[in-house]
């Protein structure tokens, strides 16, 4: 409460502090680096407009995660609708399943991380979101349920199924990952 009263939001500082979180969420949800950057910019501009409604730093972080997830889901929906209207479902599906995550050659990128992201891209959207929030953002299943406006049982089931699926995929493609690199 005291934090809410004394919180003086500094937009530039918030961008600085959360840009990698927002960008990572958007990228891992959409699997498209360019789209993720666009989404991150849009999310921060929306934050700029809504800053006066946020009461604390925690509230701002929660808001950023939630809005990023929603925007990413909207972007995926638009992408699918566009592909469907062009009659390219099969191509997009193949792309989403196999080459959705673009390889990036930067020094800070671990090959393992890249491969895990590629496997994540093959998961259903709800499972992918639950896993990203759980293991990237370290959120508890209860917090995820509140954020995704879903029953706790659904979130737990998404996490379990997603993990299992990811592990199976990993064991098929990344032997060293499962057995301990």
């Amino acid at each position: 409460m005291r934090e809410a009263l004394s919180w003086q939001p500094d937009f530039e500082q918030l961008v600085d502090e959360h840009q990698s979180m927002v960008f990572s969420l958007a990228w891992r949800m959409t699997g498209d680096r360019g789209l993720a950057e666009e989404l991150a910019q849009d999310v921060f501009l929306e934050l700029d407009r809504h800053l006066h409604r946020l009461g604390s730093a925690n509230h701002a972080r929660y808001w950023l995660r939630q809005v990023t997830l929603h925007r990413a889901a909207d972007a995926l929906r638009r992408k699918r609708a566009k592909a469907a209207s062009l009659g390219t479902d099969l191509w997009v599906e193949l792309e989403e399943r196999h080459v959705l995550v673009e390889p990036v050659d930067t020094d800070d990128d671990s090959p393992l991380g890249r491969r895990i992201e590629a496997l994540l891209a093959g998961l259903p959207e709800s499972q992918r979101a639950a896993i990203i929030l759980r293991y990237q953002e370290e959120m508890t299943p209860d917090e995820i349920a509140v954020m995704m406006n879903a029953p706790l049982a659904t979130v737990k089931s998404n996490l379990q199924r997603g993990l299992k699926l990811l592990r199976v995929k990993a064991s098929q493609t990344l032997k060293e990952f499962v057995r301990g690199a």
């Binding site: 937009f11 530039e12 961008v15 600085d16 840009q19 990698s20 979180m21 927002v22 960008f23 990572s24 990228w27 891992r28 680096r33 950057e37 991150a40 910019q41 921060f44 501009l45 700029d48 407009r49 930067t106 800070d108 990128d109 671990s110 393992l112 991380g113 895990i116 992201e117 896993i131 990203i132 293991y135 990237q136 370290e138 993990l163 990811l166 592990r167 990993a170 990952f177 499962v178 301990g180 690199a181």
Partner: protein, 115 residues
């Protein structure tokens, strides 16, 4: 059986730990912050521009309302003065009529007396 389950749990826990490491935050693209701040400045400027247009329109509207009020007051005063003038003229005419009648009566009386 139990041993297998324990192994499975252990492997899953290890897998989760590796997942955590693999899913650490990625570095944001270079210049993302600058681009966001530039777009934010543009938006604020556009908003200020929109507000100044709204303010100008409000000032014009307020001036029009004031002009209408002053005009109405002037017209009202003019009509009122004219009405008062008409009433005064009527009163003067009535007074003249009364005076005329009185003078007529006085004239008649004087004519009777002189006869």
């Amino acid at each position: 059986m139990e041993h297998n389950e324990r192994m499975d749990e252990k492997e899953m826990a290890e897998f989760e730990q590796k997942l955590r490491i693999a899913l650490q935050h990625r570095e944001a693209p270079l210049g993302l912050k600058q681009r966001v701040l530039a777009r934010s400045r543009e938006r604020r400027q556009a908003e200020r521009g929109r507000w100044s247009l709204v303010h100008m329109a409000q000032r014009i509207a307020a001036s029009a309302v004031l002009a209408a009020i002053f005009g109405s007051v002037a017209v009202y005063r003019h009509v009122e003065e004219r009405r008062k003038g008409e009433a005064a003229r009527e009163q003067v005419l009535t007074a003249l009529r009364i005076t005329n009648k009185t003078l007529d009566r006085v004239g008649d009386k004087l004519a009777e007396n002189s006869r």
